[in-house]
Symmetry: C2
Subunit: 314 residues, 2 copies
Amino acid sequence: MSYPASTTTPLYLTGNQAGLKEFLDKFDVGARSPECECVLWSGDHLFPGTVETLELLRKKGKQIVFVTNNSTKSRADYKKKLEGLGIPSTVEEIFSSSYSSSIYISRILQLPANKRKVFVIGESGIEQELRSENVPFIGGTDPAYRRDVTADDYKQIAAGDPSVIDPEVGVVLVGLDFHLNYIKLALAFHYIKRGAVFLATNIDSTLPNSGTLFPGAGSMSAPLIMMLGQDPVALGKPSQAMMDAIEGKFQFDRSRACMVGDRANTDIRFGLEGQLGGTLGVLTGVSSKEDFVSGPVKPLAYLDKLADLLGAES
Amino acid sequence: MSYPASTTTPLYLTGNQAGLKEFLDKFDVGARSPECECVLWSGDHLFPGTVETLELLRKKGKQIVFVTNNSTKSRADYKKKLEGLGIPSTVEEIFSSSYSSSIYISRILQLPANKRKVFVIGESGIEQELRSENVPFIGGTDPAYRRDVTADDYKQIAAGDPSVIDPEVGVVLVGLDFHLNYIKLALAFHYIKRGAVFLATNIDSTLPNSGTLFPGAGSMSAPLIMMLGQDPVALGKPSQAMMDAIEGKFQFDRSRACMVGDRANTDIRFGLEGQLGGTLGVLTGVSSKEDFVSGPVKPLAYLDKLADLLGAES
């Protein structure tokens, strides 16, 4: 069996034992990167066979990396989430967009000493990862920013009053924020207008929950993109800044790595643009068979569900 | 003097008495439509000469219509605002995007009897104008929607539970909302996914205040546009739905009407696309001389400030 180029029709591997074995053998060293939500579970519901599948992969010596664009959780939060679902993991196996963003800010952006502070739109996961890289920040979950805009705010923001506009802010980082409000958007806009770098943990417009979709991190950036006429640098999938960070940490051979995911335009694109040896779509999430077979971004192969990999052993 | 086509270099009329007189004479019957903010005042500061200029125009028999995209105020609110600044006006002279939206919903959209309710993202101005047209609505300033999203919300929204998803909602109307939050965005998204018509009072991404810019009504729609991959029908300038509504009310001759405004891409475009006889830019707001002279949307003429019209008399 020879593998088709990723622009040709993907292989359907569910129930194809020989095909599954060959597929798994092809990726015995590289990072295997399943998006967690919609691949391993949906909401609080673990897909049947998930734990056994991960066990099989580990038994075969595969390095597993959980790559997630969910920016509301830190890596430690994610480990807890996985454990709660009965999935064994380590913090080191987890790569979240909040972690990726923190690394980008602390190690790649060359910020002047007096512009090192980050204004955060997002939840505690971002804050924890910024702390882990010793990056100073304001905003985020601070209750002082969970309030209505006032007449004084307009005047003070317009005047650049240091009581509301911190002169040390050199970065605006936007992730999923369940407490997004007018004052946060106004401040983010003014910081960027004053020269701050505009970053987004990720650009997924929606967030899967309870079998449907809700506003995602990309939707938090949307008002700013419209006001500024400027896109953020995005640090989650499919941004290759995230792939570079993963590679820097795990030192794997890209030709022997496979990206597994449910979204053609983020997960599969991430693997293809990162020139990984393989990409594997699963049909338990956002993209349909139609998307994988006929869409513009085709995985190397696809399965009905991740646990179909167990068919390699049956 | 002959008037250039609106795609050629606009006339600079400040200090040009003969030019000003000729310009004013050209528009002795039509609706004169200044955007209020940035034309008459900025923040709470009335530009010098505004009242005298309006007096001059009224003395010359011009019908004045205050056309505003500000959706947070009703027409009655606007009259109060004008009076507070010392500008005499009547409710009938005022045309706001909230009023335009209400007319569109009540008189133009043919909604089934069981889908007549509007889910509002916006402030009380929209609510007052919906009431004036007897349009039922939910959302808006209701404190029940000014809260954090809960785990139950996800499940209930996903299930279409009538305790959170009102089955009679047939329209989502998005205007400027100083209390925008996650739950409102999530509900608006689900109503539209379930078939509700997606309307926006206006698409201005920014709102002028205190000499700078803040998030505008267009920014409230931006997350939904990104999630849905769909633009709303916009009822404010430059939408011609608003021009049609103004014409329906005032029965004026478009060739003898002049649109006055500070924004090339909304005010001036509104007048040009509505084939008004004239468009007049003022430099006290968003667009610069560069925008008016070299941009893609050129007014027929422009002034440093509205009160320069007084030069016709000096």
